[in-house]
């Protein structure tokens, strides 16, 4: 997609390593190219190295090894204030002793922009986040969402080419957060800026990003557009970290033409797409998304393998039903079905047979 077609390497990490104590690496050999206008999200659990990468890009941390380039220029030794990068912080970091207007004026003043120009830019930036009426308020007089908009406006007011966002929505409640996700996405699209966004919320990452870099243990586990990441996770960590996921351990029985037969520990045979397995006899973990599991045989492809399941629990969730099953000895197998007209509500204790399209079950590394 975006990445392959027009990656001009606007931001480039090349063999970047970072260590705080000289004993262990928090970032291990990071290679990443971000193209102009891209919305890239660094997603991962805390301690995975994503924030460190962002701080190195912003200039608040120095890379222990490797090179970071911005627009073709190495910036390892450029101080933060000369990088021209806008940044939105987790707790907004609005200057409490300045009004909203003064906060926005600050980056313009330090750049020596004239008063008339400043006022115009400030007005434009405030209108952009629908906060035009608040220029004379102090940050403390604003709600969390309003502060977030001001922080956004402040990071954008000096027209940076690159904006970094460090979990900017973490402090907001769910509804507001979802609303702001769209606003940020909109801004990104209208302004054509490059955004590097750090979050640990996969939903946020999936909603907003052009590409997502999933971090774990100081490495990028997978770098892909959201749909790829969700539908085609490259390893068990990504599969487990993004979205809900049923895991069935087993051994490859047969492998041919992009299709594998996996024998589970309890003896059943299932279909899967080989991803991290290549030969017969390998241990594997088969990952299946709950919404891709079918229990109505007429919906399944003709040659699909079916296995027995017992309904343990049925939860009515409004738009969907969530059913927990006992499959191959495990009681944690979940399926989700849409609440469509005539959809069946399964009864606990009911015995059913389930299956899936082979391309929806991915045989991954056994962890």
């Amino acid at each position: 997609m975006v990445s392959s077609t027009r990656n001009d390497g606007f931001v480039v990490f090349e063999h970047v390593q970072k260590s705080y104590d000289g004993e262990s690496l928090v970032v291990k050999d990071l290679n990443l190219a971000i193209s102009k206008g891209e919305f890239l999200t660094m997603l991962g659990p805390s301690g995975s190295g994503k924030t460190t990468c962002l701080m190195m890009l912003a200039g608040f941390e120095t890379a222990t090894h490797g090179e970071i380039r911005l627009d073709g220029r190495p910036i390892n030794s450029v101080p933060p204030h000369k990088r021209g990068i806008g940044m939105v912080f987790q707790n907004y970091a609005l200057f409490p002793h300045m009004t909203v207007g003064e906060n926005l004026s600050f980056p313009l003043e330090v750049r020596g922009i004239g008063k008339a120009d400043r006022e115009q830019k400030i007005r434009r930036a405030l209108d952009m986040v629908q906060m035009g009426a608040f220029a004379n308020r102090r940050p403390a007089q604003l709600s969390g969402g309003q502060q977030q908009r001001i922080a956004l406006a402040r990071a954008l007011v000096f027209d940076p080419k690159l904006v970094l966002m460090d979990e900017p929505l973490g402090a907001l409640d769910k509804q507001l957060r979802e609303h702001m996700q769209f606003e940020i996405k909109h801004l990104h699209e209208t302004l054509g800026i490059t955004v590097v966004y750090v979050t640990h919320d996969q939903g946020e990452a999936l909603t907003m990003s052009d590409r997502i870099a999933v971090f774990n243990d100081g490495r990028i586990q997978q770098l892909a557009p959201p749909s790829d990441l969700y539908e085609r996770p490259q390893n068990s960590f990504v599969a487990g970290f993004i979205g809900e996921n049923n895991k069935l351990p087993g051994t490859v029985e047969e492998i041919a033409e992009g299709r594998a037969l996996v024998r589970l520990a309890t003896g059943e045979l299932i279909d899967a797409t080989p991803v991290n397995v290549s030969r017969q006899g390998q241990k594997t973990l088969v990952s299946i998304r709950p919404e891709r599991v079918e229990f109505k045989p007429e919906m399944l492809p003709p040659n699909a393998h079916l296995i027995d399941a017992e309904v343990m629990e049925f939860i009515y969730m409004g738009d969907i039903f969530r059913t927990r099953l006992k499959v191959a000895g495990s009681e944690e197998f979940v399926i989700k079905s849409r609440n469509t007209l005539g959809q069946r509500m399964l009864e606990p204790g009911e015995k059913i047979r389930i299956g899936w399209a082979p391309q929806d079950a991915r045989a991954l590394d056994p962890l």
Binding site: A58, G59, F60, P79, P80, H81, K82, R83, G84, I85, G86, M87, F89, Q90, N91, A93, F95, P96, H97, F106, P107, V110, R111, R154, A155, F158, L164
Partner: protein, 424 residues
């Protein structure tokens, strides 16, 4: 919901009432009054303590600065004569008779010295006139003018009578006049004190200048330390904090004496400089028993009072503010000046006010290391409290000092705002 509204029946007038018909406002006030009474009882001991140990002594001090009945209480008849006659009236026989009667009574009551002391404050050299005449007073007989002048011809001095007229009023502004280098002449006009006796205004000025300088020094020295304390990891900052507080746990005298050991002519600093050849033995620096000594020792002693409020303000300032400023394009100096510094203003204000006010009132340190040029107004207040025993003048000086500090406090409030003050 329905129940709640039913409980709050509305009177015909539209006022809300409680379920049993009392007006809602009254019920609310009553419920809150109980809590308020309990809160008041809790702070009552503190209020009493402040009243007894702070308000009352300050009130007494202020009263003493304008009230001295040493003369009027012990020379009642003469005081009445002064009250009856116009200022400038030459003393007649009635006046001398009153004087004789008062002196006799005062001699018996052993209060002539008090009278003499009071007059002596205004007119030096007259105390012995009162005590010696008092000893002879028993033998006085009419005509009293001759009898008294025979006892001592100095009684004819019109300046003396002018002075006695002034001090015959228990309440007088004379001590305040003296505290600002003013005096009254014979006619009661306010004039400047003779030049060789003018000292207080200069000392007030010096006190405020030195206290100001010490405040600035404390700020310059304390700010980086407080910043370090606030940004270091907790374990290291605790250790450093102990070092900051260490002087607090040492006696003031010990600290001051250590400065003497360090700074004196044959002291550690001078010896080191001479040994390293930076100065010659003849040119040892005079760093103590002068203003330099006062400033160095007091800066050291008052430094923690600057660091602690600064620290308590800096600690909760997250580093992201400065980072944000840097990311917005500010150099580290601009980020400090425009973003960090303004947020520490409450601490700077509190620390500066604390150091300045303590500095203005310090007297042990200047007394020990200040020599002559490092003396502050508080040393003269102590002098009048302890040595000259002229408590009224001491009180007047203290009141002027208090007034000046309050003015500064008011100025601070106008310029910075007293809400903008954080002591910890």
């Amino acid at each position: 919901m329905a129940d709640a509204t039913a409980d709050l029946a509305a009177e015909p007038t539209g006022r809300l009432t409680t379920a049993d018909g009392r007006p809602l406002k009254t019920a609310l006030a009553r419920a809150q009054a109980r809590a308020r009474r309990r809160a008041f009882l809790l702070v009552l001991p503190l209020l009493l303590f402040i009243l007894v140990t702070f308000i009352v002594p300050i009130g007494q001090m202020l009263h003493r600065s304008i009230h001295n009945d040493g003369f009027s209480a012990n020379m009642p008849l003469l005081s009445q004569w002064f009250a009856r006659t116009e200022p400038g009236t030459a003393p007649d026989e009635a006046a001398y008779a009153a004087l004789a009667a008062d002196l006799q009574a005062a001699a018996k009551a052993k209060t002539v010295g008090v009278v003499g002391t009071r007059v002596n404050y205004e007119m030096p050299g007259t105390r012995s006139l009162f005590t010696s005449t008092g000893r002879k007073a028993r033998g006085f007989e009419p005509p009293y003018r001759e009898a008294i002048l025979q006892a001592d011809p100095k009684w004819a001095d019109p300046t003396l009578w002018g002075t006695m007229r002034q001090v015959s009023q228990a309440y007088s502004p004379n001590f305040f006049l003296a505290a600002v280098d003013l005096a009254r002449d014979n006619e009661g006009n306010i004039v400047q004190a003779p030049p060789e006796r003018r000292v207080y205004l200069m000392l007030f000025q010096r006190t405020f200048l030195i206290a100001g300088l010490i405040t600035v020094l404390c700020l310059l020295l304390g700010f980086p330390v407080a910043h370090l304390l606030a940004t270091l990891p907790l374990r290291a900052s605790n250790l450093l904090m102990i070092l900051v507080l260490l002087p607090f746990w040492t006696s003031l005298l010990v600290r001051t004496t250590s400065w003497i050991v360090l700074l004196q002519g044959q002291g550690v600093v001078n010896n080191t400089l001479v040994a390293t050849g930076l100065i010659t033995d003849q040119n040892r620096m005079q760093m103590i028993y002068n203003q330099t000594g006062t400033i160095i020792a007091m800066t050291h002693i008052l430094l923690p009072f600057m660091i602690l409020p600064l620290y308590s303000v800096m600690r909760p300032i997250p580093p992201t503010y400065v980072r944000a400023a840097r990311s917005l394009g500010a150099s580290s100096w601009t980020a400090f000046r425009r973003v960090y510094l303004p947020q520490t203003l409450p601490g700077i204000g509190a620390g500066a006010l604390l150091v300045f006010i303590l500095g203005v009132g310090y007297y042990i340190t200047p007394a020990l290391v200040g020599g002559a040029s490092g003396q502050l107004i508080s040393n003269l207040i102590a002098f009048h409290m302890q040595d000259s025993l002229n408590w009224s003048l001491a009180a007047a000086l203290a009141a002027v000092l208090l007034g000046l500090v309050l003015i500064l406090y008011w100025l601070y409030d106008r310029l910075v705002g007293i809400d903008n003050l954080k002591l910890g």
